[in-house]
């Protein structure tokens, strides 16, 4: 009974203390913050060990020795904490990650993102009048925003006018982005407030 009550009320109190940061920064809030960071880090470390066991240690035990070089290169990254004369070894670990990552990203970016986006924008057959209007607006936004970022020529005349319009479009986009961010914050706040009132039986 006591455990049940505590399991309801401790989270509620922590949520309320967490929300109190809106009004004031006080030690109670910092206590909650520390619990989250400490608890989160502890959980992540344990999950990482479990993951290494699942995807590396167990398969090696079953004969997948090809994974041993991966561990060695991964371990090289810890050389950033080593004495200065051997610290350069860390670069080989990072080089693998950056090189491999770039290879995977760049090869697929062109065919998955750039070309289809251009093809969709340039489509003229089988479109509704609204789609055509959208494509024209997109093209105008693309050109004017791009002109805003041309810094090798002074923004006067046609370029100046175009850059000015581009700046307005950028402002609209940033405003929209910010409002979307606020919507997410509202959703997060709402869920917690509803969780509190549901938990106390309202």
């Amino acid at each position: 009974m006591v455990v049940e009550l505590l399991s309801i009320w401790i989270p509620i109190i922590l949520v309320v203390i967490g929300l109190s940061f809106v009004f004031v920064d006080w030690p109670g809030w910092r206590f909650c913050e520390t619990i989250i960071i400490g608890g989160g880090t502890g959980h992540t470390v344990i999950m990482c060990f479990r993951n290494i066991d699942r995807t590396i240690i167990t398969p090696i035990g079953k004969g997948s020795y090809i994974l041993i070089p991966a561990i060695l290169f991964g371990a090289l990254m810890y050389f950033r904490f080593a004495p200065k004369n051997i610290r350069w070894l860390q670069r080989y670990g990072y080089a693998w990650i950056v090189g491999g990552g770039l290879g995977i990203v760049i090869s697929t970016m062109i065919q998955g993102q750039i070309l289809p986006a251009i093809a969709e924008s340039a489509k003229i057959i089988g479109l509704t009048s609204m789609d055509t209007l959208n494509n024209i607006i997109s093209f105008v936004i693309f050109v004017t925003v791009l002109s805003y970022f041309i810094f090798t020529k002074e923004h006067t005349g046609i370029l100046g006018a175009s850059a000015n319009i581009g700046r307005k479009f950028l402002m609209i986009a940033f405003g929209l982005g910010f409002s979307a961010l606020m919507m997410t914050y509202f959703g997060v706040l709402l869920e917690r407030v509803l969780w509190v009132i549901t938990s106390i039986g309202l």
């Binding site: 998955g112 982005g177 709402l190 869920e191 009132i197």
Partner: protein
Amino acid sequence: MTETTESKKSGSIWVKIQNIPLVPLQLLFVVLIIIPVVAGISIPSTPSTSVKEYYDFLADLPEGSVVIFNSQMYGWNYGDCAPGCAATMNLVLSLPNNLRFIVMFVSSDGGMFWDTMKKDFNVELPSDKKYGEDYVELGWYVGGEVGFSTLLDDFLTIFPEDRYGTPAEELPVMDNVLTGDDISVIIASTSLSALVDYEVRQAYSRYDIPLLFAPAGMTVMSVIPYYPYAVKGYITGLTGAAQLESLMGITSLTSKMGTAFSFMTLEAFVLAILGIVGGYMQTREEGE
């Protein structure tokens, strides 16, 4: 003359609005959110085109298709992503085409929040569905895009077992799910724009896998550029989830949250308008 202007300024409604203390306003804001929920007020939500497409795409999949759900739900975005996850899980497992629902997580705490979501939103397996046969939770993959790319090449390397330690070979739901070629659709719930981009690059670009998204409100702007060629439908955050539930004909906590969210947005809109107009009028009065 100055005194008259000063008194005029201090009496202006716009100046008074600008000087309302913030704390009571914030408390009022929270109270006004609670009222519709406690009073059971409900605003009907009309599903948008993208939500209808999201629903139709899943409903039209062939019998027994493999649906991968990639969840990036965690503490920070839980309130906005959890309703979409709950509504999607309810939908996929209730459709008559017996879809295979495979869930995986982007972050280490994904499993923990998935369990919380199921508890908070009362999501349960229908009586005719079984864990391991129709539905499985695989756990989390590391490495972001590289990890995701690898799992599409060889699922069993990244997930040799589910998150409870059952080997993949013993899970009937994983039969013949070996590479991206065996997947019918990938759904992602996320607040991370990078995840949207890398799913398009790795899943759509390399394997031609159609994508669906249940993003947080802040991420929908990253999804729309890929719609409709790679992304076949999306439900945006809490409101999208409420719309999906209205299409499914069910009412749950998500629907209540959708109503409260509408009230919240309305309040925020009114306050924003008052703030903008008030600020403008105050500046104008000070300039006179």
